[in-house]
Symmetry: C2
Subunit: 397 residues, 2 copies
């Protein structure tokens, strides 16, 4: 029989990264293509202990249906921690537990945007968000980035040019895929533009706690006085990605709408792991644990940057992140076919993610590529950069 | 600031059941309003043992990002079990692990229907499905039910009257909310009508394994020779609802589209509990466990029916389910305001779900109400039916 899918889905393709991830079965391929936290960062022993506690003392709560908004003590602890540590959250704000940050992004779009509405975003940006927006028939308006974040003039142009824009989607800190952090001045300017053009800001901050150098920059949400900023984060990068527990911190009126949408989407997030997260927030030295992850990622980022500095030929550039998981590389424009370059890397057993993946127009020619340092071993980082440098030199001849 | 939500969301209300569930904090209220499995049915000890096994032997797999379609060994075991036990699944079929059956329903709608398309369904039917369909701006065409399932003549009328109908949504076995089971003849007729009018059938079967009397009736999916039937089920009613693990069994071409949508929705289902389910399918006497649940629910259903038979005044009727979780009651039409009757029950500390909740037009007057017997204790069942009978008699005077 003929399968006719909905218009919103018909043009959507699987995420290149997920597809690369699926095909990475050849163990001899070094992957800089993942967005995964390091398995070394999983607190397995504590998690096992907490799991046994839950089975022994809270098994009915942990295995029965629960409420859509999330386990109330967890929501309270998240709110408390965000307020104490990051100054995030006003009286009108509440927390919704989501099935990963991805669900927070997808649901925000479903609730705020009609088909044909525009979402303005940094370009390049997170493919998972782009595809979520596409899946609701939204138009995407990408704004180029400077070293200190989104270009504010171009942002205002985009806001002016798109009167049906509803959301400004931003990853201000250790952006995926570039690793860039937006300056405080630009954060303030984004909020002003959002006010001027009546946009919601969806501030996606999955990596914010993973700073290994430089000083924290206040989140946009911490400056939000009217509920214009929807703040999205998750436990994926600090505890476990596989458990799928994230959260939105947002105005309670928007939260009420998103809860209705979540109810019809998955009823609620796995409650066992909500209890687990609550234990990590109340019975564990989470900050000490995060300090260890930061040290690990700081080491890995330094190593990758050192290898790049020592080996890469002139013409290739790359970002120097202060945290998060990613370095963005740019190849010189003299390389006519960036896709062929990425393919040549893969043939030489190094996987990186082609930059076009992160563009609003996925078919655009993009000379950038994303490299991840949290997943590969030290040895793989050294070896992988060597492959990159060799292929790079070959392509400059 | 003014919050303008999308058109598709603006008319959507929270599920009455979830709202009732949320407000059921008064411990003196007897609830027949839940759709929960009995906590007695959770295999806590085995689950704890399996959890420890997973932490000790598969911790990285269990806590890291995983693939969207689901843990491959689990998908294979589900396919195998469905084929062996229920004759479900052709060569073109595959399994997608979903974050509960609810996600299977929601994603099927997102992938197959444009805004304004029609979904035909039994009436009354599962509120979670109705709201998922509403959340994509679908029109709902409800078809009344006879004792042996959907009225086939009315179904054909609805199919004829709605040329933009895409999906026929059915819960053929132990239907929620009525507890009715569709006859084999009607199942065949539904499939014929679906072929004639080119509809997909979304066969929702969360309770199918919980038969405590009578003989199994083949699923519609088992008669599907062309991939027209999308079969949805879950582990919620046989292992744990709180873990949110369900599945779709469907044609691989539709599955590929749904996987793309799931990728942008929650990336994948909690992988720890996918490993858990795999263990229950391979290292546990799942059939023996289900036999215990059936015995428990059979006992509770009999008890509730016995209490109803002995106490209810003439004019009130109720279904006699052979499995599942629900009995549907109908009050006589002489009761002018069914909502006031339900409210009077609540004032007397018995919660049931008003029938209007399950209607395509949620504002319709409906003299039915749903009663659940899996969650209340035996004592609560006796006491609750007594309250119901007293209020019923009072309202007939």
């Amino acid at each position: 029989m003929q399968i006719n899918v909905s218009n919103r889905v018909s043009t959507l393709k699987p995420s290149a990264i997920r597809e690369i991830f699926k095909s990475l079965t050849d163990p001899s391929v070094i992957s800089f293509a993942a967005g995964n936290p390091s398995p070394e960062s999983f607190p397995v022993d504590a998690m096992q202990k907490f799991a046994n506690d839950i089975f022994e003392k809270q098994s009915t709560t942990a295995l029965q249906y629960s409420i859509t908004e999330g386990y109330i003590p967890l929501r309270e602890e998240i709110l408390k921690r965000q307020k104490e540590k990051f100054g995030i959250g006003k009286d009108f704000d509440t927390v919704l537990v989501m099935t990963g940050g991805q669900q927070g992004i997808e649901h925000t779009c479903k609730v705020l945007c009609n088909e044909g509405d525009t979402i303005i975003c940094e370009e390049p940006t997170f493919i998972g968000a782009l595809n979520a927006f596409r899946s609701y028939g939204c138009k995407l308006a990408g704004v180029p980035m400077d070293d200190d974040g989104i270009n504010i003039e171009k942002l205002e142009e985009a806001a002016k040019a798109n009167p049906n824009a509803k959301i400004l989607y931003l990853i201000p800190t250790f952006q995926n895929p570039t690793g860039k952090t937006m300056s405080l001045e630009k954060r303030k300017a984004c909020l002003e533009i959002a006010k001027k053009y009546d946009l919601f800001i969806l501030e996606d901050n999955p990596y914010g706690e993973l700073r290994f150098s430089g000083d924290d920059v206040p989140t946009i949400k911490s400056m939000d006085t009217e509920g214009r900023v929807i703040y999205c984060s998750s436990f994926s990068k600090i505890l476990s990605a596989g458990m799928r527990v994230g959260f939105l911190l947002l105005h309670e009126d928007v939260a009420a709408k998103i809860a209705i949408i979540k109810q019809v989407s998955d009823v609620h997030t796995n409650i066992f792991f909500q209890l687990m997260c609550h234990k990590f927030l109340t019975e564990y030295d989470l900050d000490g644990h995060i300090a260890k992850i930061k040290k690990l990622y700081g080491h890995k980022a330094s190593l990758m940057l050192k290898c790049l500095d020592e080996n890469m030929p002139e013409g290739f550039t790359y970002t120097r992140p202060d945290g998060g998981l990613f370095i963005w590389g740019d190849m010189p424009k003299t390389i006519a076919d960036p896709k062929a370059f990425i393919k040549e890397l893969a043939d030489n057993k190094l996987a990186v993610v082609p930059g076009a993946t992160f563009m609003c127009d996925g078919e655009a020619v993009c000379h950038g590529f994303r490299m991840n340092y949290s997943t590969p071993s030290d040895e793989q980082i050294v070896k992988g950069v060597n492959i990159l440098a060799e292929v790079a030199k070959r392509n400059l001849k």
